[in-house]
């Protein structure tokens, strides 16, 4: 029983850390949406008009998903959206690298502007792994509950 409580506690901490990362990233970008629009534009995937609109929306999506993870309300929805965001970002980052673009990821606003490509990639993969682990854990729990 104590072992189970410990495991549950560890999962809760993982969820809180992931939520904290996204809330922080969202808040930093929400404070400077124009800069974030430039960062999105740098990937040369979307037209500026779309980049600037996304710059006003994505930070809030990250913040709300992070809050959902902490509050454990709309939890699976939050995990799904964040996983999708990280996957899209990973593909965009790799594509930019392949095309030789000199990009600033903008993930954490000004704080991340000097991170190396491998640094970005490593952090994203760790976050993606944590999100997937949380997602599979909660969906398997839900399946078990439904079976009972």
């Amino acid at each position: 029983m104590a072992q189970m409580a410990k495991v549950k506690f560890v999962w809760r901490i993982v969820g809180l850390v992931v939520a904290g990362v996204f809330i922080y990233a969202g808040v930093v970008k929400a404070f400077d949406p124009i800069r974030f629009a430039s960062d999105i534009d740098n990937y040369k995937i979307l037209p500026w008009a779309m980049s600037v609109r996304l710059a006003f929306y994505l930070p809030w999506l990250e913040i709300f998903c992070g809050i959902a993870l902490i509050a454990r309300r709309l939890y699976v929805g939050g995990l799904s959206l964040l996983t999708a965001l990280v996957l899209i970002f990973l593909v965009a980052t790799i594509a930019a690298k392949v095309r030789g673009l000199d990009i600033t990821c903008g993930c954490f606003g000004h704080a991340s502007q000097n991170w190396s490509f491998s640094g970005h990639l490593a952090l994203d993969l760790v976050i993606l792994a944590a999100l997937l682990a949380l997602y599979f854990k909660v969906t398997s729990e839900n399946r078990l509950q439904n079976a009972v």
């Binding site: 609109r53 006003f56 809030w60 929805g77």
Partner: protein, 137 residues
């Protein structure tokens, strides 16, 4: 799926609110208005009437830079800005460049020079350092 849609819809509300707040502060159709961009040919034509500002990291500036360019990057903004201002005069145009067309630093430095240092006649070099190198050959 329903949960994701609810979250996506919730995030729209502050996003729209913020976009309305910023509606006059952001250029919605182009990252830099054409009037704030300058080509290498135009900037070279200004000759002694322009100050070149290198927004790249220090290491890249030290490796090579436009003759007489002044380093001004965001890493050492507070330290370098006074040095830049010492060379600036109101009649001179400021041409900011970074490494290439896709880099962001020149836009940011130009924006901060306009907003924080209240300078006018600040331009971003199209194509950046890469474009300059083509002209130098």
């Amino acid at each position: 799926m329903r949960q994701a849609l609810v979250l996506a819809a919730l995030a729209l509300l502050p996003g729209i609110g913020q976009a309305i707040y910023f509606r006059d502060k952001v250029s919605w159709q182009s990252p830099i208005p054409a009037s704030e961009m300058v080509t290498v040919a135009q900037a070279r034509a200004w000759d002694g009437n322009a100050i070149w500002v290198d927004a790249r990291p220090d290491a890249e500036f030290e490796r090579d830079h436009v003759p007489d360019a002044v380093p001004l990057n965001e890493d050492r903004w507070n330290e370098l800005l006074p040095q830049f201002l010492a060379t600036w005069s109101p009649e001179k145009r400021v041409v900011v460049y970074c490494s290439s067309q896709s880099c962001n630093a020149s836009r940011e430095v130009a924006r901060r020079l306009r907003e924080e240092a209240q300078l006018k006649n600040v331009f971003v070099l199209q194509g950046g350092w890469e474009e300059w190198l083509k002209w130098r050959k």
